[in-house]
Symmetry: C2
Subunit: 196 residues, 2 copies
């Protein structure tokens, strides 16, 4: 199954590449890096990445949407939101990290769905779409096919949670050993929920 | 100050981009992505990254060396090891993640220096240079200007430890809040040291 990682200028590096590290350990997954128009995308941390055009990949897989500074402009980019909506609708599972959930919320697909986001940016994310059932205290939230995580590093914990649901907890723990990661495996353990 | 991140084909994504996420939060640092010949480098997880030629950047900064599958061939690539040796010698600080320490060990610069590495690959790394004072049980090790970490995710903990030494622990904790990271701040806490 393909994991389509949707990149855009000023995405937050670890939002995308934390989960990528986890999913890269799963033989059944093929990772593809896509963007609205293909070509070079530059992360907030200045990494220049070559991407495929989102129109050129099979959308019936897993869609991963990072967050970051770039989301602030993109929530108002109707062409981007339309493409995202189409891709998210066709995906078997749709995962967001950090303010990636603001982008997904803008499509309307999260209406009446439980979801979370970055805690520092939480008020802004909520303001993007108040029909979403926003959950403040959660490392990550699962509702139907939508997996939404808190800020940046929480995406790694969610990706491991996803692997655990798909392949069992032993597989998730095997990935942890491989990448020497200390997993916060409890989605209810969110140490950053109430610090702002 | 520049942080030069030395990339090569089949580097492990999170080895490089975990610390990048941390250092990207520090205003005083400028991140540069370099490789032996410049151009496109492809990580083990298939990310295609545009890099600068290592000859074109200022070497008197911080050098970050990731590990990964690509190191297995590179320890025997004399041109690469010579360039790495020159860059590491000129650097103010030199940081390795995972089997990146095998590359640095090959230069001889770690002789009689304490260092660590990935725990699954530890025996191979030791075999690259037995004059290094290899430390098995440590999340990361600091000796003189050399910071070496255990596998993959340990690089994030080390990067935060580095920030803590340079700018104080409050700055490191501020970065943790920003990226919602649960920091293993104790280099002696290495849960993966003795599982193989």
């Amino acid at each position: 199954m393909d994991i389509n990682i949707l990149l855009f200028d000023d995405f937050e590096t670890l939002d995308a590449f934390g989960p990528v590290e986890v999913f890269g350990c799963i033989e059944e997954y093929r990772l593809r890096y896509v963007s609205l128009n293909g070509g070079t995308v530059v992360s907030k941390q200045g990494i220049r990445i070559l991407t495929e055009n989102i129109d050129d990949v099979d959308p019936y897989g897993i869609l991963l949407i990072p967050g970051g500074q770039g989301t602030r402009a993109l929530v108002n980019d109707s062409e981007f939101i339309e493409k995202l909506s189409d891709a998210a609708m066709k995906s078997e599972y749709c995962l967001t990290v950090c303010t990636g959930s603001a982008l997904l919320a803008k499509t309307g697909l999260l209406d009446n769905i439980r979801a979370t986001s970055n805690k520092k940016a939480f008020e802004w994310v909520k303001s993007v779409n108040t029909n979403v059932l926003w959950v403040k205290e959660s490392r990550w939230v699962v509702d139907q096919k939508y997996y939404t995580s808190s800020g940046v590093s929480a995406g790694i914990d969610m990706a491991l949670g996803f692997v655990s649901e798909m392949f069992g907890v032993d597989k998730a723990r095997e990935v942890c050993r491989h990448i020497e990661y200390i997993w916060n495996f409890d989605p209810d353990n969110d140490p950053y929920a109430n610090i702002y």
